[in-house]
Symmetry: C2
Subunit: 354 residues, 2 copies
């Protein structure tokens, strides 16, 4: 089995080929240079970065479950990346993010072009709308991709379809919770957990794994195992993400830190301070929550995270979940290649800096 | 064949049944009262109004092409309404519309609830994000609906799928043009025509008709005929819509007039004034273009539309397109029931007040 790094070098040309073909097909309907330019930019952005973790998870389980038609499977798993780009484009509008993979997000790119072209009216709103529309196109293409595959038996595809649509429900509900919590004065811990399970565990691990497994073998009995393993991996992955937003290196991250604080995001860490911090820590934190911070304020907020014990508790939880995941991987009746590949992936997750 | 009015009474219970089932399935994943409430509201809004013209067009062509499994066809044509609700929810956020079918749009409803619940942060942004997310769920459900039908032969469904995804491309591109033109100082006439063909002709007439026809008979040779007829009907329908935005009755419309002027929308009428009006009419019009108007200003803008000749030219074009459509309907080799039903529909289009 490929390592994650090898996988990206094999997968990215397949992703690019799909995007080239599908975007050209779309653009046949227009010669307008402005529209063509920003739709093509959405391809540039898709290929500018990303770890390809979702198609990789699907690939691991497809292979571990005995799937042999890897080439066709990878073409199908492009749907995960196209869907992910849809989710990112919409999230970036909702979260008002200007940068992604170190370059402009689609709506930020459109805004620049509108200004250059001396356009008039509510340009911010126009740019956001175009970001939403580009995202919706990707959503449609992801689902279309799943439809048209003659390489796999109907039964296998049917289960894969069903899980894909379950995943869409889950990630949308997770994002609804995510947005909702930004407007809550205090978020119950349970809601943060639910959000993580839906938006990260199910979306990034459980459903891609189940889809890969069922595409290879529709009679596999791995669903509960993958739910269990994927939930732990998802929690660890999300905690790591939230931790990097506090103590990460902005250069390696290719984005600013403390975005969650600025955006009033409820994470394990913000919730830890608000539920378990001292009165003074809570009050100080609330003063900064929802605001863009200068470097002195950033330092102060990082201190609150550290001194309240949030950072240590988070790190401990990451380790716990990864240890539990390792145990599940080692116990599985799935061959040494599977085990080695998964354990390598966990190491990458543990070491990641962005 | 049913008239449009009869169709709505038959179709709406099927639409409601689908929404009840699918939204319940979605809501199984959450007990959160706030989230449940606004997702259920998206159903209320879907059933509060709408003419069901797209499933009706598909139904007419399904029946005219010899389709006999009407019950299953109508269950499938629910996809057009669910997709339409997605488009409306997203459009309403983009166009900042607070009302739809005489009640609050989803994002406006969410904003009210957030305020009632004493939430904090950027509530407008939170509400818009939830409107986008509710819309995306509907988009996913529309495509899922199309996937899972065992009542029709694979060949018929395959063509129907392909046309559905073409339609999604077309309506997204049409909406991209639509948004784009709101930021242009002057919009070329050709772009307004392209927008109308994509957003109205293809979306409301051509593709639903082709899908209905191919679902009944995958070997039918009606594509060019339906393209031709649907283009004319679409142009007439859009012009009528734009005309009602100027001279319609706000009570019957259940919305304010001159929204296109306030939103800087390029329509046949706004473009007529800007390209063919006198210098004084153009300058006066540009002064109001993009602004909310009081009733005195509204009267003045309506006068500009009338005196520039835009209203008369638009009315003439509506009649021309409808006459041409009638000719195509009468010429078709499709049975008297088809002809009578289509001619009745044209009469309804001509008489419509909202």
């Amino acid at each position: 089995m490929y390592t994650l790094q090898e996988f990206k070098t094999v997968f990215d040309p397949i992703l690019k080929e799909f995007l080239d073909k599908r975007i050209n097909e779309f653009l046949r309907n227009t010669t307008d240079p402005f529209v063509r330019d920003f739709v093509l930019y959405s391809k540039t952005l898709s290929l500018a970065g990303g770890k390809r973790i979702r198609p990789y998870i699907a690939y691991i389980m497809y292979t571990a479950s005995g799937g042999k038609n890897t080439e066709a499977a990878l073409r199908l798993f492009v749907c995960f990346e196209i869907f992910h780009m849809f989710a990112l484009m919409h999230d970036d509008v909702m979260d008002k993010q200007d940068k992604r993979h170190g370059i402009a997000t689609v709506h930020a790119y459109v805004l620049e072009r509108l200004k250059e072209n001396d356009r008039t009216g509510d340009l911010e709103n126009v740019a956001k709308a175009q970001g939403i529309l580009a995202g919706s196109l990707f959503f449609s293409w992801a689902m279309e991709l799943f439809l048209d595959d003659k390489e796999f038996p109907g039964k296998n595809l049917k289960i894969a379809h069903d899980y894909f649509y379950k995943m869409v429900d889950e990630v949308c509900l997770g994002q609804i919770f995510d947005i909702d919590t930004t407007s809550r004065k205090v978020t119950p811990e349970e809601l943060v957990t639910q959000k993580t399970i839906l938006k990260t565990s199910r979306y990034t691990f459980v459903r891609p794994a189940q889809i890969g497994a069922h595409l290879a073998d529709p009679n596999n009995k791995l669903d509960d195992y993958l739910e269990n393993l994927g939930t732990k991996l998802g929690i660890a992955f999300q905690l790591q993400d939230d931790l990097l937003d506090i103590i990460g290196d902005t250069k390696k991250l290719e984005k600013n830190i403390l975005r969650d604080v600025a955006d009033r995001q409820s994470t394990f860490f913000t919730n830890f301070v608000l539920h378990k911090g001292s009165k003074m820590q809570r009050e100080k934190f609330l003063h900064y929550f929802g605001n863009e911070l200068n470097s002195g304020e950033q330092e102060e907020v990082i201190n609150i995270f550290t001194e309240s014990g949030a950072i240590d508790a988070g790190k401990k939880l990451i380790l716990q979940n990864l240890e539990e995941a390792k145990r599940l991987i080692n116990m599985a009746d799935l061959g040494n290649d599977y085990k080695k590949t998964c354990l390598d992936l966990i190491q990458i997750m543990q070491d990641r800096q962005n």
